[in-house]
Symmetry: C3
Subunit: 345 residues, 3 copies
Amino acid sequence: MAKAKTNPGRFFEDYTLGEVIHHAVPRTVSGGERALYHALYPARHALYSSDDFARGCGLPASPLDDIAAFHVVFGKTVPDISLNALANLGYAEGRWRKPVWPGDTLRATSEVIGVKQNSNGKSGVVWVRTRGMNQRDEVVIEYCRWAMVRKREPESPAPETVIPELKPALDPGDLVIPEGLDFSDYDFTLAGEPHALGDYAVGEVIDHVDGVTVEEAEHMMATRLWQNTAKVHFDASLREDGKRLIYGGHVISLARALSFNGLANAQVVAGLNGGAHANPCFAGDTVKAWSEVLDKAETGVPGIGALRLRLVAIKGGAPFELKGPDGKYLGHVLLDLDYWALMPM
Amino acid sequence: MAKAKTNPGRFFEDYTLGEVIHHAVPRTVSGGERALYHALYPARHALYSSDDFARGCGLPASPLDDIAAFHVVFGKTVPDISLNALANLGYAEGRWRKPVWPGDTLRATSEVIGVKQNSNGKSGVVWVRTRGMNQRDEVVIEYCRWAMVRKREPESPAPETVIPELKPALDPGDLVIPEGLDFSDYDFTLAGEPHALGDYAVGEVIDHVDGVTVEEAEHMMATRLWQNTAKVHFDASLREDGKRLIYGGHVISLARALSFNGLANAQVVAGLNGGAHANPCFAGDTVKAWSEVLDKAETGVPGIGALRLRLVAIKGGAPFELKGPDGKYLGHVLLDLDYWALMPM
Amino acid sequence: MAKAKTNPGRFFEDYTLGEVIHHAVPRTVSGGERALYHALYPARHALYSSDDFARGCGLPASPLDDIAAFHVVFGKTVPDISLNALANLGYAEGRWRKPVWPGDTLRATSEVIGVKQNSNGKSGVVWVRTRGMNQRDEVVIEYCRWAMVRKREPESPAPETVIPELKPALDPGDLVIPEGLDFSDYDFTLAGEPHALGDYAVGEVIDHVDGVTVEEAEHMMATRLWQNTAKVHFDASLREDGKRLIYGGHVISLARALSFNGLANAQVVAGLNGGAHANPCFAGDTVKAWSEVLDKAETGVPGIGALRLRLVAIKGGAPFELKGPDGKYLGHVLLDLDYWALMPM
């Protein structure tokens, strides 16, 4: 009786190919979320800091930071997707399709696009395509992610294996340019750096220099703000070492914000090609970041270029080192994210 | 001279039966307070998370969380009521009479409704009825509380003892249903759980499962946000153990937010029957919560039911245990709150 | 290549007399910033807490706290002025010229008004006059500050020494009274104290009594909110003792907020005459504050007086002690600020 009312989360058996899960707790964002985002991360990209700058770029106002929009949508999915997850394995085909404005209400759905039981019979991998919608039912963001989820009962039969075909990276043509975005009067001085798309070379690496030592109160406030309910982020009594595992998205936001220093004009996050949370992050870690230019492209809109970046967050250690001779991530690497940003050409 | 300008707080002698104290520092709330509330607590009740969901329930927008409204009003009273309090003894007859909207400005008054000097002659109990008003002078919340307050001088004469008659619990008919509230199109999927009033049984207990380890920065930010000035929450040099006592309201908000898991549809806090801060809470404590259904009732509005709940916050220990054989609260019990919530029938 | 894109900050040689530096990253403020300011500091001045109270004082709404406006503007200047600063030496001629309203976008410029190479040839002092502008290009705040900045190369030639003439204190006539401000219907009860300008005497000292023990998460959130990028505030790996130096402005805001207790009616910060960050502040310090009335004056507007105050923040130690027999600040003094406040006469 006592436990009947609470949500135990889904187990591997509970996912059916093609099923669409409607996630709970829609969320209205406001200037409060923008202010908190700037208090929690050293975010400085001008398009998300200034309504005036955004209007100079053809937008009606400054949208919610793209990564914040991602967190809101991701947070909705946690109770249904990752409450019993053993590992968050990957992301693909993430696209920001509409800016999120103060006053917008976001909700989310996830479609099960793949299932594969592990050979040990105790768990399986679930692939979902998650969509975040605003109050006008417009998709504002969509992405695929896959996670390893515990089975409720090891004896339950394995489903037919279906592994979705996912693009290793989005094509520049897949990216959605926010309606009205126009960099023809772009103010490089106010934006903070002079570098346009043409100033970046494929293969170039950038050390973003600054570091942030992370505190418990900060990552918990951030993770709660996105209504992410995963217990490991909040309850210090769950692990033997008394540590709280920091939400991987907190590291994404930290790294993206730090990347301002060298990528101030990579204003809009438009595509998420992939990402790995290479090692866990804990309070007390000092997080730094570096980037590598993976690709660059024109978009369909004159003056707006796309830069494909590898964004790496590290704790200690040297920049520009990613994996050891065994092909595994080095111990100081926290995040390896592959994304497309839009910037002036 | 040096001390003449500051407020030393009131002592027991300073309260006169029937006196109405006008509390200082009115406060305008906005989307910023909503965002912070969601950053500080794992709040997920959809009516307070989504303007869109609130409109689907007949309201013009999402109101400020009811407990947040309580905190704002309570905070105003601290400099006049509890600055020299030795203990916060109880609450009764708390009623939320109007939702608080972003842009509203709250102020508060307290009427002295009871005084009783303690037999030791050094302190006394003061009962007040506090009212929070918006900028249209509408009462948005009212409640009684009583506290033990130091006397300035032990020799000063005792006032005539007056102990107010307070209801042990509000009748369902005492509850005010927010104007326009209508659950006829209630979306249980978006709200997060399928349970309506009829699914709960009197005597049923619910373990809300999740836990939050509390940090100093969090409870201080919360307590300051409500402009609660009680020194013990902020100044680590006041206690010999160097600990800061966490504002009891912080624990109320934590427990109420955690109760989403099992009580997701108990959307509106409409009545406060009573409450005890059983033991102090300190940073580092991991707070969990459980509830017991005390009563259920219809309201005057079709489709809207009232659930009377005991909400218990604990640190460590097992759920569903409250008091020892001596009738005293067990050491791991932080809060024992008795309230009425409104939910779909 | 790797370092070419990031901003190394300016060195002493990079400042030319008369040059105007346009600082990057404009910033729109909203109710979110107001809420966060109240969560981070025990701010209670009614004019900045309540739209309703502000309207009663002739303003259209509650402006952003004056010190918060200062922080936003100051934060913009850090990447260009103080990234390679060895010390922040002083402030002068600070004037708040327009209130900042929710929705306003602030940007900043700094004019180099003085340069003087130090005798050691390794560094120099740079004086700048910084102006913060809103989206209508109106100056909302201006102030001078000077900092000691490293030279890039010790051999580079010294510039001609120019030391600007700065007023030791603003005249009352220099202060700008916010348009419409009118204290004729001022509500002393709602403001929290009965003391008007006439109740303060030059030479009077006030112990503000309350203390706040500072946490890492709080000062970092505050400092980030103002987009202040100075590394020492965030990166615990930079100092041998593993401490993060707290942004001096955090201490200013703490002290000003604490000064409510005794100076509740000193509503508007209108002028900054000078200030010294006497000793560093670290997490764990318990900050208290005291004030000394330095001067009082009428303004051009009937009913609005100006109070010149010394605001001192301390950690431990006794109030009202500032300097030792050697003329140096005592070790427990954090801040010595000289400002003009506007209040009812």
